[in-house]
Symmetry: C2
């Protein structure tokens, strides 16, 4: 970028949001040039607006100057969605982080985008309400990012992903116009459903400045079960058996042997007995009587599928420990020192056994360590190719395995991303899943929002 | 329309779908010129394609000739969504009416658009599965129409509307291109969510030719409760009390006094004891123990709010009779011989008491009979202005009351339509709810799908 262009933008925005909230120092530019993917390009400047009007002024300025504008929440995304691909302006939502309202009468919350997901959950649970979406990053990730990526999590099995909880959005178009979609009413069919179109649009259509979220009553009871299996096949059989028996617990998480060994190495202690080749964590919630009945049926299905051991969390502490193991997984895999190439493929729920057969075949064919875990009930498995970053041949094999994985997931009638989105990391692959006329249609929708293509360029589309 | 244009189109389509499936006789044109709204304009021809390829050929032909193309399912819509506003071609889905697959392993069904909703429900319930959306028209309306309008129904309170059950769509663009959105996987964040954009788009963006629907396990038990109240205020208080107590049953339906008297006149018998000013029908479903607990809490809340009588349906027959009363309402109101101007406004669920105060004020101010009933738990109330069609002054008062109703619903942070959509009947009012920049954005989205504006012109937008 011409530095005179940057200077022009800095000058224009100084009068709008103040010099204190504009950064151009090298450290800031470097920090805002990467997210959890670990790749990206530094911006030319980073700005920190305080409110919707300031966001609109920033958008107008970028649109006039044709400067790329990349919105950033907590930066916990795995596909580079929140970082520039070729400079421009990063609009950080850090200052817009208030819970504006928890409305107990209408069962909803209104929040600014940078409220941390777990903070919102704690606040609503205090008054007996519940916000189900629970990405593993919930202590760090923000609602705005969750909405932009349509975050999932274990509880999506029963409760659905973020999209099911977004009633209304306030957003700023790249042209600076402010639009509102949806309403506080739980039903609304007036015009097109722009709310659902914005959810999961990865910051490419509009800048979300406020979200109205549907809440539900907090389930009064829950139970958490751990089932140990000798191998992945037995664990996957248990998942299929549950679905056949029409049991839909709140969460149904699977962890494979490679993932278990990474946790053991990371925590320096055994979390499961030797000989355990896979585990299922199952949670049931609802009214006490229903929870008791459901978790019994889960235990029975696990035993029938050959579980080595089935145990119930005896206390809330026990339960937290169980879930922490699950949430530590991503960090444990990173702590191996290997490059963790993290994918979140999804297949129709009944085809999880075939997906694990695919993963095993990839291990053999490409001589790779692959740690797989995730939301087995949804068919949504995190497949982590664990690669020695200094071994060019291994990196090349991983690249081949990545493409083969995506091709086979599509052949299983699944999707190359169930949670993380495309960002720039997977943009080269969307043609495996979408036909040219579908991509062309999406690009026309993009143009309807962003005629000059300034918003998060280089994302989603190849 | 020039009759030579029609002749050209008939000739072109005869070779594609056969002369037997093209009609231009006056009786057909009249029949396909109205839907449940009772207004519209006859088409110039009606065609009955058998498959997606034929639909694509029809679209291409209309697009080339710039001929309006209106898709019609079962014609049960209340806003004129399925009828022309100025001639053109009606594409009836009648022949595309097969359930293609009920997939018990992946918990989904694949259907052609003209499958009748209740037929699908019965088919999936036979194998222990459940398709929740239950518009009152379910014995007549089609899945394609349900998807196009995002149909709701009583069970939406617990289970959500149609949109929550659409996993994937096959659709034909007005240009004749065939696109697929979504997949059989329950999560999918690859590209924009065109599935959710098509749901509720009222046949203005694309022609839905196939739907993949998510199914859930059939709830093993249910209980249905009838609570009688002296007046609407007491019934509405009971609804608020339930929400305060965090009870979310499967359905929470309210019927007011004017509606009750229409049912009595229609059935020529009392369905509730004299002195009943409002009733609630509440249904709970799930595991038996949870249902028992929940329905007890519902009964308690109704009694606390002053219910005259609370009774449980003792048998399945009893239950059907209760729900039939509810489903007969629309017909009973029609049978009054009055013109029934049917609106489906929605407010945030806690503001239902205010909505009923608005309705009462409209009755007084405009000297009208207004029958109100509907999905109280969702804040979605069917407000029927009952008008003597031969009384021009009354019709004029109804027009004033209609606008006042919509203005006040928007002031209550609600929406002018929760289920029926806009069609052409409400197009003049969308400016009450949507800002100019929002309507302009929606029109640009429309252009991205339908560059020549041939698909269902005159709908949604004023």
């Amino acid at each position: 970028m011409r530095s005179s262009l940057r200077d022009d933008v800095v000058r224009a925005l100084t009068s709008v949001i103040g010099a204190d909230y504009i950064r151009t120092d090298a450290a800031s530019l470097d920090a805002y040039g990467v997210d959890a993917l670990g790749q990206g390009h530094p911006p030319d400047l980073v700005v920190f607006p305080a409110n919707t009007a300031e966001v609109a002024a920033i958008a107008r300025c970028c649109n006039e100057q044709r400067m790329p504008l990349v919105v950033r929440g907590a930066g916990t995304g795995f596909t580079g969605g929140a970082v520039p691909t070729r400079g421009g302006l990063v609009l950080s939502m850090e200052r817009m982080n208030r819970i504006l309202e928890i409305d107990e009468t209408n069962l909803l919350a209104i929040v600014e985008p940078n409220v941390i997901t777990a903070d919102l959950q704690r606040a609503v649970e205090k008054v007996g309400l519940f916000y189900p979406p629970d990405p593993a990053s919930l202590e760090m990730s923000s609602i705005g990012g969750n909405v932009a990526e349509c975050a999932g999590g274990p509880r999506a099995f029963k409760y659905g992903t973020t999209k099911r909880y977004v009633l209304a959005l306030e957003a700023v178009l790249p042209t600076g116009e402010i639009v509102e979609s949806g309403s506080k009413a739980v039903k609304n069919v007036v015009g097109y459903d722009l709310t659902q179109l914005l959810v999961g649009s990865e910051g490419t259509l509009a800048i979300i400045t406020k979200a109205t979220l549907r809440l539900i009553p907090r389930p009064p009871a829950r139970a958490t079960l751990l089932a140990l299996f000798a191998d992945i096949r037995a664990a996957v059989d248990a998942v299929s058996a549950l679905i056949r028996r029409r049991v839909v617990p709140a969460a149904l998480e699977l962890i494979d042997a490679d993932s278990l060994s990474a946790i053991r190495d990371h925590l320096k202690q055994d979390v499961v007995p030797p000989g355990t080749g896979a585990v299922l964590i199952v949670e049931s919630d609802g009214m006490q009587a229903a929870v008791d009945e459901e978790i019994d049926r889960v235990a029975e299905a696990c035993r029938d599928a050959g579980a080595l051991r089935v145990s119930l969390a005896a206390s809330e502490e026990d339960r937290d420990r169980l879930w922490n193991v699950r949430r530590l997984l991503s960090g444990a895999l990173k702590a191996t020192g290997l490059l963790k190439i993290n994918h979140d493929v999804v297949v129709p729920r009944g085809r999880v056994p075939e997906l694990f057969a695919v993963i095993e075949a990839l291990r053999q064919a490409h001589q790779l360590r692959i740690a797989a875990f995730g939301h087995a009930g949804d068919g949504n498995i995190h497949v982590n190719l664990m690669v020695d970053r200094h071994d060019a041949q291994q990196r090349a094999r991983a690249k081949e395995a990545e493409r083969a994985l995506f091709e086979q997931v599509v052949a299983l009638e699944g999707s190359i991303s169930g949670e993380h989105g495309i960002g720039f990391a997977k943009a080269q692959y969307i043609g495996l899943e979408l036909a040219p006329q579908e991509i062309a249609l999406m690009k026309r929708v993009k143009d309807a929002f962003d005629p000059n293509g300034i918003l998060n360029p280089g994302k989603i589309f190849p």
